[in-house]
């Protein structure tokens, strides 16, 4: 590694506590780390390494995938070579990179369908941290950690009522803490993140969050603060139109005793001014905006069951290539139902074309209608391009896997799955770029 020349040695003098020096190749600097976390790989040769140091710290962002302690193994563990005094720890750069994804959504944290689809694309189920606060909003899977930005509320429910601010107001959120902790996680350090308990409305004691490979921050203000925006590698805004929001809230709350149509209406309209002032403007910063609108296929439909979903993808974003139909940059309107495929009412209609959105060049992919059969889904998938699947039929497989999730038969499920695959693609490209920088610096 390029920094081997500057690699300092740690002395294994008997009894003296060694400090490990870790080289991060991309920065070409060697920092002394005395950080707290050690992640052990399942390989047994790492175990004696740790025990020799009696729990002393290793590079904070060493994970099983990135540890490559090649020459070190011969020094330690077996006692034969205790006399060797030089120790070089090689950290493989690139695979300890954490990428940060921001998701702006109004539907609560972490338990939303979008999150579950997203984490499922990466493999494994995301579950709340074991053994911690049962009302924690965090979800953790093998590769992904989802953090709810409600945890950075500076005022709890009573505090907000006293001050007369909603949770949407930036005055109720601690952006400094949000920035610090997201930055720390991105750099590979663990943080003690506060917990906002949605059930009691209080701020609970913090929980430990370890840096994951992919960090998703979900909430109302991921792109509000400029510093946090800089840290995001990819950002998504979920824009639900008022009519659809109203229909969904009715479905959700009418089953609940206590709510009436008027109270649901009142709660939506009371939040609207703050929403329009603080949350809505984040749309222009997002790399992908998923807009959910009422369908145009059924005149006067107000049930909100059939949806028209538009995916607005910013052009020119690093590592991200927009999904397209037929040919990039052209405008096309497509109805897949016809001779090859028979669909039931109201059918499916696609649209793709370039556009300008808040002064940015974008490509818009739109789907109106519903899938009701498997072959419709696979037919549509085979005609979409730049979908970043690893094999033919991956989108269909993902949609089928979660066929009971809401939106599995329309554009919401399809585009959420697509965004999940795109994020995976962004992640892999960032990793590939990192490791090619390493190889370049070796030369």
């Amino acid at each position: 590694m390029a920094c081997a020349a500057a690699a300092s040695a740690a002395t294994l003098a008997g009894g003296a506590s060694p400090t490990l020096t870790c080289c991060r190749a991309e920065a070409n600097l060697c920092t002394a780390s005395s950080l707290t976390r050690v992640a052990l790989s399942s390989r047994s040769n790492v175990m004696p390494f740790v025990s020799q140091f009696r729990g002393h710290a290793v590079c904070s962002s060493l994970t099983a995938a990135s540890t490559d302690i090649l020459p070190v193994q011969s020094f330690i563990g077996n006692g034969r070579q205790r006399s060797v005094s030089n120790l070089v720890v090689i950290c493989k750069a690139g695979s300890d990179q954490t990428i940060v994804i921001g998701l702006a959504a109004d539907s609560g944290c972490g338990k939303s369908t979008f999150m579950r689809r997203l984490t499922s694309v990466f493999g494994g189920a995301a579950v709340p941290p074991q053994g911690g606060n049962p009302d924690s909003n965090t979800l953790i899977s093998d590769t992904t950690t989802v953090i709810c930005l409600d945890d950075y509320h500076s005022l709890d429910r009573t505090g907000r009522k006293e001050k007369g601010v909603t949770a949407l107001d930036p005055r109720a959120n601690n952006f400094d803490l949000m920035y610090e902790q997201v930055k720390a996680l991105k750099q590979g350090k663990s943080v003690q993140k506060p917990i906002y308990n949605h059930v009691t409305g209080l701020l609970d004691p913090p929980e430990l969050i370890a840096p994951p490979k992919i960090l998703v921050i979900e909430g109302l203000h991921p792109m509000y603060d400029a510093r946090v925006r800089e840290l995001l590698d990819f950002s998504i805004y979920l824009d639900i139109s008022d009519a659809v929001k109203f229909a969904w809230k009715i479905q959700r709350d009418m089953a609940e005793r206590g709510h009436s149509l008027e109270s649901i209406k009142a709660s939506i309209s009371a939040r609207k001014p703050d929403f329009d002032a603080h949350i809505d403007p984040q749309k222009k910063y997002a790399d992908v905006v998923i807009q959910v609108l009422p369908t145009q296929l059924i005149p006067d439909d107000n049930e909100g069951k059939v949806l028209r979903v538009r995916m607005i993808m910013k052009e020119g974003v690093e590592y991200f290539e927009p999904v397209y139909l037929f040919d990039e940059g052209s405008t096309i309107s497509w109805i897949p139902c016809g001779r090859k495929l028979t669909c039931s009412y109201p059918g499916i209609k696609f649209f793709y074309g370039p556009d300008i959105y808040y002064d940015n060049e974008v490509s818009v992919l739109e789907m109106d209608g519903q899938f009701d059969r498997l072959d419709e889904l696979i037919y549509v998938e085979s005609h979409l391009s730049n979908i970043s699947t690893r094999f033919y039929g991956e989108i269909t497989q993902q949609m089928l896997k979660h066929a009971d999730f809401p939106g599995s038969n329309n554009g919401t499920g399809l585009f959420q799955t697509l965004v999940g695959l795109k994020i995976r693609d962004v992640y892999e490209r960032i990793l590939a770029k990192e490791s090619s920088t390493v190889t370049a610096s070796k030369v």
């Binding site: 539907s107 609560g108 338990k111 499922s120 494994g124 189920a125 429910r157 907000r160 009522k161 001050k163 007369g164 601010v165 909603t166 949770a167 949407l168 949605h198 059930v199 409305g201 809230k249 959700r252 709350d253 009418m254 089953a255 609940e256 005793r257 206590g258 709510h259 009436s260 109270s263 009142a266 709660s267 939506i268 009371a270 939040r271 001014p273 703050d274 896997k401 979660h402």
Partner: protein, 142 residues
Amino acid sequence: MASLAAAVSLKPPLPSSSSSSSFPSSIAPVSTNYSKISAISFASTRNAPNICFARFAGKRAGLVVMAAAPGDLTDELIQSIKEAEEVCAGDSAGECAASWDAVEEISAAAFDKRQQAKAQSDPLETYCKDNPETDECRVYED
């Protein structure tokens, strides 16, 4: 909220089947024979909450009282809605918005709890949905 009519025909009922408001809310379901229940509709009125009329396989109808689960947010929700209506009758716009925001938060939390309760019904099924390749979830067709 208007009471949803119970669309069930009641055959000779059990002696204590009057839907009075004097049912204590901690009665456990009187019958566990859920497989025989072919239709349930909820009669939800302000006076007699959580009582549903169940029709048991056409034989006889009984009264099944579902108690409010402990830790249920329903009471808190009703309380917060009342509070919000009171505050908004006053003149402070900010506090009005804040109190309806609290109602929204509690509704969301209540919904999540219901989803969780549903999801916890069969842990093996939920696990296998996400991890069909593990040993416990393999399906053999012989």
